[in-house]
């Protein structure tokens, strides 16, 4: 039986294009649809993150790629190899499970050697020792998993999957159980290993910071569909939906009425002010829209003082809340029309903290604003872990 597994794996060793291609993938459960007609291409060798709140279908997608869940319809290809309905042990894909799922009855060495032994691989000893070296666990080789700390267990799980040199390595919230500091260092560690081994990594997480730190490309998922896909900076700087605007970082969304296109900008009437949005940042053309601006792009100054931004300055605002968080100061500003906007200011020390109640003027550079369709829920993506 294991010969079959080995053949299947060796038959699919890299030849030409080995992208992971998911098309029209759907998974229905008895009472709901977890993944809706998902299309996705993960280029070979990239670090790809599926980001979304719990229940958005990201883990189900991952499990279908691993073969642990059978798709209702659609297909999954690795290069030309159709693995949609292939058994999990016959696809060149390995998984780092959320709770590690280390075998408690085997020691660390045997946990790492498990995949090689099943495929009757040669030079198991050499490979296992190299891998334990890579994750710096050589001295723990003969211990059992429960004797290791969370971070060490996490590295065993990574080594156990990596040693098989899968074409795609799936990481299912691999750092969720670690404390913040350890998580930060593991993020960099995993990123380093990925660069070193050059395999395709698909990483599932609900932690937007983690996704942005590690991934080349992020797909933001919400209720079974991909809302937007792109590099971390693309997604952050130019979100296409209110969900992405709120889930990835924070956004100020201000109601406005679209006036129309003028050259390569879209003009929007926003609370008595006309603002211009660059065409490629305008995700709505007519009717009502949300004008979005990231809090750190919002510039404020005590009323009458200059602000380093061209165009309109909005007056009649005052500070309602100040939180000093060290690297920055976060202000809540009550605008003339009653809405509260967030403004984050770098703690450069040039100016002191503006106290609560101070009258301020507000502005931003027009190239940082974005325009979203007003039919979307302004609060989508807020209040998620």
């Amino acid at each position: 039986m294991s010969r079959v597994a080995e053949d299947a794996v060796s038959a699919s060793t890299p030849t030409g294009n080995r992208d992971l291609r998911i098309s029209q993938l759907t998974k229905d459960f008895a009472s709901f649809t977890a993944v809706k007609s998902l299309d996705l291409v993960v280029p070979q060798g990239s670090f790809f993150a599926l980001l979304g709140p719990s229940g958005c279908g990201k883990t189900t997608t991952l499990r279908m790629v691993a073969g642990l869940e059978t798709p209702t319809s659609g297909s999954i290809h690795l290069g030309d190899l159709d693995v949609t309905y292939e058994k999990p042990y016959r696809r060149p894909v390995n998984t780092v499970f959320q709770n590690y799922a280390l075998f408690p009855h085997l020691d660390i060495y045997e946990n790492v050697a498990f995949g090689l032994r099943r495929r009757r691989s040669k030079e198991v000893d050499q490979q296992v020792n190299d891998m334990l070296d890579l994750v710096e666990l050589t001295s723990q080789a003969r211990k059992k998993p429960p004797q290791l700390s969370g971070g060490q267990q996490q590295r065993v799980a990574l080594a156990r999957a990596l040693i098989n040199k899968p074409e795609v390595l799936l990481l299912d919230e691999p750092l969720g159980a670690l404390d913040l500091k350890l998580r930060r260092s593991m993020q960099l560690e995993i990123k380093r290993i990925q660069t070193e081994v050059g395999l395709t990594f698909v990483h599932v997480t609900h932690d937007q910071e983690e996704a942005m730190t590690m991934a080349d490309t992020i797909a933001v998922m919400n209720s079974g569909v991909i809302e937007q896909m792109g590099s971390p900076s693309e997604l952050y700087e130019n979100p296409a939906t209110t969900f992405v605007a709120n889930f990835l970082g924070q956004s100020n969304l201000i109601a406005g009425e679209i006036v129309g296109r003028e050259g390569d900008v879209v003009k929007v009437e926003m609370q008595g002010t006309i603002v211009s949005i660059e065409l490629d940042r305008a995700h709505a053309e007519t009717g009502a829209g949300w004008v979005g601006i990231r809090p750190e792009k919002v510039l404020i100054a005590p009323a009458g003082e200059p602000i380093d931004a061209p165009g309109n300055h909005m007056t009649g605002a005052y500070v309602t809340d100040v939180s000093f968080v060290g690297v920055s100061t976060q202000y809540l500003i009550r605008m003339a029309w009653g809405q509260e906007l967030m403004a984050f200011e770098q703690n450069t020390g040039v100016r002191g903290i503006i106290p609560v109640g101070t009258q301020v003027d507000v502005s931003w550079r027009p190239e940082f604003a974005f325009l979203l369709d007003a039919s979307q829920d302004v609060n989508a993506g807020i209040e998620v872990a």
């Binding site: 294991s2 642990l68 999990p88 042990y89 499970f97 408690p104 009855h105 498990f114 059992k144 004797q147």
Partner: protein
């Protein structure tokens, strides 16, 4: 003043320390006196005594002539035979049933979970008499004896096996099997490399429980035994006239076997705990 206050405190402390200890020891004595008597009596030289329960002097005779009482050793043999056979069959059937009941959902699953407990909860005398009635009324009274005892023992051991293995299985992380499959183990390898080793302690526990339940059983066995005599039946019969001292030898051996298993298990656990602490 302070002296007067301090003294009762000290006395109370002394009492607290020593009285609790003394009571604890008494409870232990209470529990172990019967076993001590069994061991002691296995060395009792009562060959010339009228009162067979009086300790007359030390001898190895009971141990060297263990099988002297007519029918005793064959009764022990029967009990061991039935015990082993019933254990093997009950463990195999029960383990399979436990897997089915934990891993699959089917109509009547919760009812099945309840029904499994019934043989454990029913009074043995009821089970025994109903089994006797069943064998006789179905025209299978020729089964009474070894075969009927075996069938009855498998029946009551089954529920214990199912319950024990089930709890072990449901405590097992289902991700482990998926991880094995993910790491190129097919269904067969996943079972033997991951599932089985992890469930094995539960299966072994169930086997030990089954054997001791079967070896020990008197009521159901007596009702289904026909002409067969098991060890508990032999002891019961002999006690009418006076239990031969060799029964204590068998008792001592049984005690030694079980205490060896318990101590071995404890040592193993401590070794594991030490390894964990290291």
């Amino acid at each position: 003043m302070s002296d007067v206050l301090r003294r009762p405190g000290r006395i109370r402390l002394w009492i607290g320390d020593h009285l609790v200890l003394a009571l604890g020891l008494l409870v232990l004595v209470y529990m172990f006196v019967p076993i001590a008597v069994v061991i002691l009596m296995s060395f009792n030289d009562n060959s010339n005594s009228r009162n067979i329960y009086a300790f007359r002097g030390f001898t190895w005779d009971n141990w060297s002539n263990m099988c002297n009482p007519t029918g005793m050793c064959s009764a022990v043999g029967k009990s061991v035979q039935i015990g082993l056979l019933a254990t093997v069959v009950a463990v195999i059937l029960g383990t399979l049933a436990a897997f089915g009941m934990v891993r699959h959902s089917f109509k009547g699953k919760s009812a099945a979970n309840l029904i499994v407990f019934l043989p454990m909860a029913s009074p043995e005398i009821v089970l025994g008499s109903s089994l006797l009635a069943l064998f006789v009324s179905s025209g299978n009274s020729n089964l009474l004896g070894f075969r009927a005892i075996f069938i009855a023992h498998v029946m009551f051991c089954l529920s214990f096996v199912i319950v024990t293995v089930k709890s072990r299985l449901s405590g097992m992380d289902a991700n482990l099997e998926q991880a094995a499959m993910d790491l190129y183990a097919n269904e067969w390898q996943t079972f033997w490399r991951v599932t089985f080793p992890l469930v094995l302690p539960g299966i072994l526990g169930a086997a030990m429980l089954s054997f001791s339940l079967s070896f020990d059983d008197f009521i159901i066995t007596n009702l289904t035994a026909g002409q067969t005599t098991t060890f508990p039946m032999f002891v019961y019969g002999a006690s009418q006239r006076g239990v031969p001292m060799q029964v204590n030898v068998i008792g001592t051996i049984m005690f030694l076997v079980s205490i060896t298993i318990v101590i071995g298990n404890e040592l193993n656990n401590r070794r594991k705990a030490r390894a964990l602490a290291a």
